[in-house]
């Protein structure tokens, strides 16, 4: 192996272990994506990225670092990308989605920790992911208990900055988050050596808004009765948008949306008429976590929407682009980000409103509420979500799973039964 191997070596990666991951990823991609017929031509881009997932983008990041730019690794959609971009930094989402990294995390974390956290810690400590090696600084947040304490351990191995996310959404909490954003901006300026000006921040806000609008356009196409793209493909696009260059991401998503709109006009659907439309809600599905979508879509269902961080929460609501002072901009950012309805907040009835709205907008037949094991927050919220959906007459299936393959049959039985129930 040539190019990439020397790059991985220079990054201090554990090549032998990493190679084990390289052996299983192509098979998973083949099984999940290449078993589909009639995919949009635009998916070529994301197929390329996932084929070279530890090659192309890491190489780009390293080239940028040579020009003096800093790379920030993030773990939560509350962290404002705009601030980092305004200081000429680069954002890369680091949440781990593979079982491969979990044992590495379990060496230092309790077994009863969410797999996403274990995988993220394991990816860093096991030195088996180039993104985790490249990031100059990690940005953590005080969202859930598991993450809060895991960052302490991770912070011993890499420079870490923690943002204090509020627990509630009162006026004073929005002000507090604004102050956190302002403090973060100062840190980013210091770390990058670049000043954040009103103009640069406005430009950054515009770039990220454009990306949000492009993602929203693709999702809008999934509202049509004629479904032009599968849930699996939309999920792949969403997952990659967390670490791709934002301008290119917007470009490729707009191109895809153009193609999808044409498909809808031409009546091109990727599923037979009458396929049950499923909305998936819950904890995030970090790359390469495709298990749930694959099982749903090979059991007679089609995923038309994801109400989660790796879904609507990533792009809904734009940031106000008309502010003329930094103070005003930080407030605008806070107001937008605080609209994200995560279970870390109390109360979180906004999430239920969102789900009910999306059931209507996406013409949903049934909702699957799926959380990662040991996530107390989302597991507890299932009660409220279930109750609200039942009252609204919407069938709902609550699930809990992790990254391992071992529960696939059990999931197939439950999801299969749920879809049979929807088919009446």
């Amino acid at each position: 192996m040539s190019d990439y191997v020397s790059m991985w070596k220079d990054l201090g990666m554990d090549l032998e272990s990493h190679d084990l991951l390289c052996q299983v990823l192509p098979t998973a991609v083949g099984d999940v994506f290449l078993t589909q017929e009639n995919r949009p031509k635009g998916m070529d881009f994301w197929d390329l990225v996932i084929s070279e997932v530890h090659g192309i983008r890491p190489k780009e990041l390293i080239e940028e670092q040579k020009k003096g730019r800093k790379v920030f690794g993030t773990f939560c959609v509350y962290v404002p990308d705009e601030v980092i971009l305004a200081a000429n930094g680069i954002v890369t989402g680091l949440c781990g989605g593979s079982q491969f990294w979990v044992p590495g995390g379990e060496a230092v974390l309790p077994k009863s920790t969410c797999p996403l956290i274990k995988a993220s810690v394991g990816a860093r400590l096991g030195r088996t992911c180039p993104f985790f090696r490249i990031a100059d600084m990690y940005v953590g947040e005080t969202t859930c208990d598991g993450k809060k304490k895991a960052y302490e351990i991770l912070g011993e191995d890499v420079p870490m900055y923690i943002m204090d996310v509020p627990q509630m959404k009162r006026e004073k909490d929005i002000l507090k988050w604004k102050d956190e954003i302002a403090a973060f901006a100062r840190k980013v300026e210091e770390f990058t050596g670049n000043a954040i000006t009103v103009e640069k921040l406005n430009e950054a806000i515009r770039i990220v808004n454009e990306k949000r609008k492009a993602l929203a356009r693709v999702y809008n196409c999934r509202k049509a009765a004629c479904l032009p793209i599968s849930g699996r493909d939309a999920l792949l696009m969403m997952q990659i948008s967390f670490f791709d260059d934002p301008v290119r991401c917007a470009q490729m998503c707009n191109k895809l949306a153009d193609e999808l709109e044409q498909r809808i006009a031409g009546g091109v659907s990727v599923v037979p008429a009458g396929t049950k439309r499923i909305l998936v809600t819950g904890t995030p599905l970090a790359v390469p976590n495709w298990k749930l979508h694959n099982i749903i879509e090979t059991s007679g269902g089609a995923v038309v929407c994801e109400e989660m961080c790796t879904g609507t929460r990533y792009f809904e609501n734009l940031v106000d682009e008309t502010q003329t002072t930094l103070e005003g901009q930080f407030m605008a950012l806070s107001q937008r980000y605080m609209k994200t309805n995560c279970a870390c907040f109390t109360p979180n009835t906004g999430r239920i409103d969102d789900i009910l709205r999306m059931v209507r907008e996406y013409q949903v037949d049934g909702v699957i509420d799926c959380s990662l094991k040991f996530c107390c927050l989302y597991d507890t919220e299932k009660y409220g979500v279930s109750r609200a959906l039942k009252e609204a007459g919407v069938p709902v299936l609550s699930l809990e799973t992790d990254y391992a393959d071992t529960d696939a049959e059990q999931l197939r039985t439950r999801i299969g039964a749920f879809i049979e129930l929807l088919n009446g």
Binding site: D407, Q410, T413, A417, E420, L421, G424
Partner: protein
């Protein structure tokens, strides 16, 4: 070719059940055999037995369900055991509104039926407590068959097993035997443990109209049924053919499939 009969095959983790129904839903044949190591081999054996009994697969429509459903290559369709147990229970108990409690070999299901169709369900297939496996293991430890354990339980009382986990519960049972506890009392504790687990699961789906009915392999144990009724505060019905509910439901799905196909022609 119009088929005169429909076949339902329920390959469970412990036992495989086969039912053949006539077009007017009469039971023409019922087969029971252990699933064993290979669902594929079991499916082949069932095919042979059906042929020998005068119901060759080629002349009927077949639906497979259960844990081993994907291992039945000649099935016209696979349907989950939840839907099949639901349909089967409706047929056996003659009702369209039910709460079905299916205690299987390795899992326990609570299925809510409204208007003859599944409206909700809860599965425990992650833990063997409250399943047939729990009963089997404890019966082994007491060196009796499960039926005998349930008969003994009716004469016992006053002892309980605290462990939720089957493995630790087994240790508890061994300790109880070791310190000379009456076998009837230990048996009582075993059944009590199963009933507690199952009624807790059923309680989470409380509030439905209609009867509560048992299906699955533990249908034939009167003491267990009575205990469950006491714990739930309502009469839990059982039926002789209860353990065939999955296969009956699968056969009914096969009938529906066959009607649909004829209509499409």
């Amino acid at each position: 070719m119009k088929t005169e009969y429909c076949i339902g095959i329920d390959i469970g983790s412990t036992c495989a059940k086969t039912v053949v129904l006539s077009r007017d839903k009469r039971v023409l044949l019922q087969l029971l055999q252990p699933t064993g190591w290979s669902s594929v081999d079991t499916a082949e054996d069932i095919r042979r037995r059906l042929e020998e009994a005068g119901f060759p697969i080629e002349d009927g429509t077949a639906v497979a369900t259960g844990y081993g459903r994907v291992s039945v290559p000649y099935a016209d369709k696979c349907v989950t055991e939840i839907t099949c147990h639901g349909r089967g229970a409706c047929h056996i108990y003659g009702a369209g509104q039910l709460t079905v409690i299916d205690i299987g070999g390795q899992d326990t299901k609570i299925i809510r039926i409204e208007n003859g169709a599944v409206s909700d369900f809860l599965m425990n297939d992650k833990c063997s407590a409250g399943t047939g496996r729990f009963l089997e293991i404890m019966a082994n430890t007491l060196a009796v068959r499960p039926e005998e354990l349930c008969r003994m339980a009716a004469e016992g009382g006053g002892v309980s097993i605290s462990s939720m986990c089957t493995v630790f519960a087994e240790s508890e049972v061994i300790s109880l035997i070791g310190r000379g506890e009456k076998r009837e009392n230990i048996a009582f504790a075993v059944v009590d443990s199963i009933v507690k687990k199952v009624s807790s699961q059923a309680g989470r789906m409380a509030g439905g109209q209609g009867a509560v009915c048992l299906t699955g392999g533990l249908c034939g144990y009167p003491y267990l049924r009575q205990s469950l009724s006491d714990a739930l505060g309502c009469e839990v019905r059982t039926a002789e053919e209860g353990r065939y509910a999955g296969a009956v439901g699968a056969a009914l799905c096969a009938l529906a499939l066959e009607k649909q196909r004829s209509a499409e022609k």
